[in-house]
Subunit: 340 residues, 2 copies
Amino acid sequence: MENMNIKKLAKELNLSVSTVSKALHDSYEIKAETKEKVLALAKQLNYQPNPFASSLRRNSSKTIAVVIPEIAHNFFSLVINGIESIAEELKYHVLIYITHEIPEKEEQIIRHLLNGRVDGILISSSGTSNNNAHYHELVQKGIPFVFFDRANFDVDAPRVTTDDYQAGFQATEHLIKSQCKHFAFLSLSNQMSAINHRKDGFLAALKQYQIEPSHVHIIEAGTDETLSFQIIRDFLQPLPVSLGIFSSVEKLAIQTYHICKEIDIMIPKQLKIISFSNLPTAALLNPALSTLTQPAFSIGKEAALLLFQSIKNKGKIQPITTLPNVVLKSTLFIRESTKM
Amino acid sequence: MENMNIKKLAKELNLSVSTVSKALHDSYEIKAETKEKVLALAKQLNYQPNPFASSLRRNSSKTIAVVIPEIAHNFFSLVINGIESIAEELKYHVLIYITHEIPEKEEQIIRHLLNGRVDGILISSSGTSNNNAHYHELVQKGIPFVFFDRANFDVDAPRVTTDDYQAGFQATEHLIKSQCKHFAFLSLSNQMSAINHRKDGFLAALKQYQIEPSHVHIIEAGTDETLSFQIIRDFLQPLPVSLGIFSSVEKLAIQTYHICKEIDIMIPKQLKIISFSNLPTAALLNPALSTLTQPAFSIGKEAALLLFQSIKNKGKIQPITTLPNVVLKSTLFIRESTKM
């Protein structure tokens, strides 16, 4: 069927079947002008190669997958835009899979992708350090993949992260200098590398400024929204004096705002808060939210570039010590929510 | 390869090859208990069917695609959660494709999906009424698809929409009763059905209340963020007296907030604004934003149910007049931004 169509295209254009086939596969051997002619007629005749047959033959799907924990998170939507900006150029399709923060769901998706359905995978892990068997299977099968933001540090794969420790330190130092007396870290999970690095930065700053350990609170809010709302509300009643909150993700900061509104806690007078966030409304909130903002679009771009590099190098053995590890910087935006 | 693995599973479990195969394909002929046993061992032995071979044979990919204009839009992320809640139950994978509001990109994605890569497609159209050839190709190829939110009314396909006209009327009536004198509709595009229905409701309300046509402004802000920011800012300088804005999407309302902050326009004193929105921070903005909120999660669920119905009925001819057309209601939330 495909060959028949290629023959038809070739005849119509007075080109060889091989030239048409190469043009359709965007071969560097073919002039741009010829490619354009072939593609225009292919479109006109509605030529469609069979994707399965074509994938098996060329051993390339011209598709990459992005596996993310959730979609209702401005950080991830910006990252995806960054990824697509690179994929677009290389004429790759981008498939997005959502794990809803469920490690088993992530495993299921990765296993679904194990047999060459895509050429490579970008992963922001929902997993814990205990379940990395599926990543090792990717390594074994030689399927290129790159971690971004939430990496699994027990697995040998390129990764793009941000300076979570330093940013956590900086945010906490800002709360200390804003004269907070009690300090709380809102955690999404104690099993995620990025979140833990933020917490380590938080703890290091408090230690350096010799904050009384009894004034330090780690709140494991978790990924379930109803539950985290309850946990944060319970923590805020009674309200610790001069509380400074450092939220590891924007979702928990938004919940804190809702709770403060509900039980009449005044921000920043009674409670100061700063959060990791790419929220487009951060500056419009009442009060405007101080944030640590990750360069989400650049993270997506860098991760995609590393992945396409891996896809290109596929099969070549790379020593683990040279695995790329890109670390980008977050930016601190001081707004009303941490005002003295 | 696959058969060898099935044989191994069958031998290990002392079952027939046919029983194991049926269990793996979730056949109703097999007891739940047996399925569990088979799946547990399959997981343990890391049994993976070849997806391409299996798709060709069973003629089913157990995958559906969702094609949306953008991801940084709370509406779409909630819809996707609704879709996944149904797909999960039926053990289907959900692939997400983003068109970035570019009709050509949507065409490209749909054509990429034309050859049975997925069992069905959910589409929120970025297209205009002028380019629906790719939808007609889906109809011709017998690939089930359902429109949600942004439907193309020239194409015969099931659709799930909201009461955009009525909601637009209601929002505008609310602005009129809040004593606005000038009225502006912020449009994303004059080529999208949902947006146009909102505009028609807006115009109908103004007509019914006999608002002077010179006090009615249709602002074609467009989908490009830099441009729409400029267009809205230009419209607000000089500021029409007692202006009431009805924004067709939350993105344009957020831009309006940013502009008002920048050029010192007080909301709601000098300008009132209401927007279609599923923003989780709507109630936390300064001032809190009045919204028309679509039942996004339900839209996703309903659309997925219709799609799986179509997939089940595939091949059966349905008269066009019985094509399902589900219309759900939006909810009006009155907050500070439209206060008198």
